[in-house]
């Protein structure tokens, strides 16, 4: 009874923040602290509802919340809260709530507060709506809306040209992914229409249960692309993944995420660490039955995810900007999540469990890292690590919480027990799955990627810790500990980063594996994997001891390296970390991607083509039109000279005309 009553309120989860957006946007200026209280209350309410529904669902994972309403034409909007959505909802509303509270203090000096809180409220609404949508179209709509909010918030300080440019870059880069996503939806819709024989009343073809029920037929459809026979399902899933690549900052569309740090730090924590960027992972998890039934798609996911994890890690170790290090870390961790999903080719549904587990844990510790960074920036006013140092004494709470977050990120814990930070349980699971995948398919590349990335993770995050909190200040500043309204959220998140993984480890995975077997959808992952040609094995437990300890070993190794270089300062960095060192320069310049993208792709090719098209085609078309006009005028200019004004000429012309006409008529008559 309680649960049904709660279902009635499910629609309020996204609606309350949306209302808060309207109120704060129009009346925020007249309220104290920019009307922050409105979104905080709304999101708190959303969090309570989400948590209540999640708890209800925990007891009975079969009975998911599912409501659908007709939207326009044959499409619908609806609510689907299954285990996957439930944990995401709770996490998003919880993290968003904490960050909103934190932002009251963080943004207190900014004149644009009402706008800030309105936009974050809108973002939260869109993100919640994304998570609980029961069809692919609503998911896409929310997907775009979170992109818009991200654009608005990155460009929050729009008077800074770099912020405006970063906002534009973020929007455009993710837009490339969005177009792929949209293309996937378009192909999916038209395929479903063909398979279902048009739209029947009462069924919404784009709802996930309908989509999943057509997976076998979809995978049977073949298309011929450049001579390769490709299943439609593969095309669709790869296009979906293209959208995820854009949103979740995977290679090669990750370039916007580091620049997105131009926004306020709270925005980075909320959007570019905890929630929006994980939407891509969520999308792949949500449509996991399609991915596992599509040959090759999961392979692409795994490889790209693993590569991104490593690739971003290499850049993370040379960045000097506090937030950029965290940005690259985020990209790297998102790569882990993608890798985890991709490993579903071997471990089946467990992949969703470990990946989303990592997503949730990451949300806690990465939001915490960003908020700590924000606390530092708020107190010190700079975010360049070369100018910081020795902050540990000035800001003890920040330092402690950030250290906890770093431990969680690096994945410290004792294998085989439930002792460990959150990141340990989820990252370890992914690396172990990668090992299992390697053992099973004799393909060790994902494992190597993941273990190398784990080492880099440990190095760059402890480099950050040591450079910021230990040693002596490298510039003049007067730091102070942040007020309680900021440190309390930090502490709460720190607790979660520390113990959430250990407490929920087994229950979480089991809960999430119920996602695709309940009253809404009921698909047999095993048989779908068969369609996709993926062989599943029974999961972990019998790996060699070394494999279980390996992640911890590399994490400790990373810590040791960072300790030696940045705490003890035993190695002179001047020689290595200079622009003369080609490797350092390559990393520092981020593999010259910016140059490659802007100058080669966008400027060189697109702009060149555009120039050609504009200059040539438009001028041609226009000059044809103008030319006809000029020609008409010119010809008449010449022709009017016939009017000599002399009567005799006219008479002669008349006579000649009449004569010729008669001859002509005569000739025609003869011929006919």
């Amino acid at each position: 009874m309680v649960k049904t009553a709660l279902e009635e309120f499910a629609f309020l989860i996204p609606l309350l923040p949306a209302l808060a957006f309207v109120i704060t946007f129009f009346f925020g200026k007249k309220m104290p602290s920019g009307g922050a209280i409105v979104p905080i209350m709304a999101i708190a309410a959303s969090f309570v509802i989400s948590l209540a529904i999640t708890l209800g669902l925990l007891a009975n994972p079969e009975e998911v919340v599912s409501q659908s309403y007709s939207w326009f034409a044959v499409l619908n909007i609806g609510i689907l809260i299954d285990p996957l959505a439930a944990v995401m909802l709770s996490m998003v509303s919880f993290v968003s709530l904490l960050i909103h509270i934190y932002a009251v203090s963080y943004m207190s000096h900014d004149p644009g507060k009402p706008r800030y809180f309105a936009e974050t409220a809108l973002f939260t609404a869109a993100m919640l709506s994304l998570v609980l949508s029961d069809n692919i179209l609503q998911l896409f709509v929310s997907w775009e809306l979170v992109g818009l909010c991200s654009f608005l918030l990155i460009g929050f300080w729009y008077e800074k040209p770099s912020a405006a440019a970063a906002a534009k870059k973020a929007f455009l880069t993710t837009r490339i992914g969005d177009v792929m996503f949209l293309t996937g939806i378009i192909i999916l819709t038209s395929d479903l229409m063909r398979l279902a024989g048009g739209f029947q009343d009462g069924t919404y073809l784009l709802r996930f249960d309908e989509i999943f029920s057509y997976i076998p037929q979809l995978s049977a459809l073949q298309a011929n692309i450049f001579g390769f026979e490709v299943s439609h399902l593969t095309i669709i899933t790869l296009l979906f993944f293209g959208g995820a690549v854009g949103k979740s900052g995977q290679f090669p569309l990750h370039v916007w995420l580091p620049d997105a740090m131009e926004g306020p730090t709270t925005v980075s924590a909320l959007i570019h660490a905890a929630t929006m960027v994980t939407a891509g992972v969520y999308l792949v998890a949500r449509t996991f039955p399609m991915f596992i039934a599509a040959p090759d798609s999961l392979m692409v996911v795994a490889y790209l995810g693993g590569f991104t994890a490593l690739f971003a890690g290499t850049m993370g170790i040379v960045m000097n900007d506090l937030k950029r290090v965290l940005a690259f870390s985020t990209i790297s961790q998102l790569g882990y999540m993608m890798l985890g999903l991709g490993l579903g080719a071997t471990i089946g549904l467990e992949a969703v469990g470990i990946s989303i587990f990592h997503l949730i844990n990451h949300a806690f510790f990465k939001a915490l890292l960003f908020l700590c960074a924000g606390s530092i920036i708020h107190a010190v006013g700079t975010q360049d690590m070369r100018e910081l140092g020795g902050l540990g004494k000035v800001m003890p709470i920040t330092a402690a919480t950030m250290a906890i977050a770093a431990l969680a990120l690096a994945g410290f814990g004792i294998p085989g027990t439930s002792m460990g930070t959150s990141g340990f349980f989820s990252k370890d699971a992914i690396i172990e799955a990668a090992y299992l995948f390697g053992e099973h398919s004799n393909n060790w590349i994902p494992y190597l990627f993941s273990i190398a990335a784990a080492l880099l993770t440990s190095v760059y995050i402890f480099r950050l810790i040591f450079m910021t909190f230990t040693g002596k200040p490298r510039s003049n500043y007067h730091g102070h500990e942040s007020p309680a309204i900021m440190t309390i959220p930090l502490s709460i998140l720190a607790v979660f980063a520390l113990v959430f993984g250990g407490l929920t480890q087994t229950g979480f995975m089991a809960f999430l594996e119920e996602t695709f077997a309940n009253s809404f959808v009921n698909v047999d992952i095993g048989s779908l994997a068969g369609i996709g040609g993926n062989e599943l094995v029974e999961a972990a437990g019998h790996e060699p001891l070394l494999v279980l300890w390996m992640p911890l070993i590399v994490a400790v190794a990373g810590l040791a390296v960072a300790f030696v270089i940045y705490y003890l300062r035993m190695i002179k960095l001047g020689a290595i970390a200079s622009m003369k060192n080609p490797i350092y320069r390559l990393l520092y310049k981020r593999y010259y991607q910016h140059e490659i993208y802007t100058e080669f792709f966008s400027l060189g090719i697109v702009y060149g083509v555009v120039a050609l098209l504009t200059q040539v085609l438009d001028v041609i078309v226009d000059s044809i039109v103008e030319g006809i006009g000029i020609l008409t005028v010119g010809v008449s200019e010449e022709l009017r000279r016939v009017q000599t004004g002399v009567v005799q000429t006219y008479a002669a012309a008349v006579i000649v005309g009449v004569s010729l006409l008669i001859i002509l008529v005569k000739l025609i008559m003869e011929v006919l």
């Binding site: 002669a652 006579i655 000649v656 004569s659 008669i662």
Partner: protein, 83 residues
């Protein structure tokens, strides 16, 4: 000047040729024999009758045209200055 005249000559020649060829090349639907009435060659009376019966309206109009053109001609020829 010469070419003008030559041109005019050819135009006139062209027209003559066209009309003459047309006139001689057509079989005209005429009476086979002209009404020979040696006694009374004149048909003035008949014409007069026609003008004042069938064509009386055009005749009246024509008279007005003549009158108008005469007045106009006199007015113009007289000019404005010399009353």
């Amino acid at each position: 000047m010469r070419t003008d005249r030559l041109l005019a000559f050819f135009v006139a020649l062209l027209f003559t040729a066209v009309v003459v060829v047309g006139a001689f090349g057509t079989s005209w639907d005429t009476v086979s024999e002209l009404p020979a009435n040696p006694a009374d060659q004149s048909n003035i009376e008949a014409i007069g009758m026609l003008i004042f019966t069938q064509f009386v309206a055009p005749f009246e109009v024509l008279s007005i045209v003549l009158l108008a053109s005469l007045i106009g001609a006199i007015y113009m020829a007289k000019g404005e200055g010399n009353q």
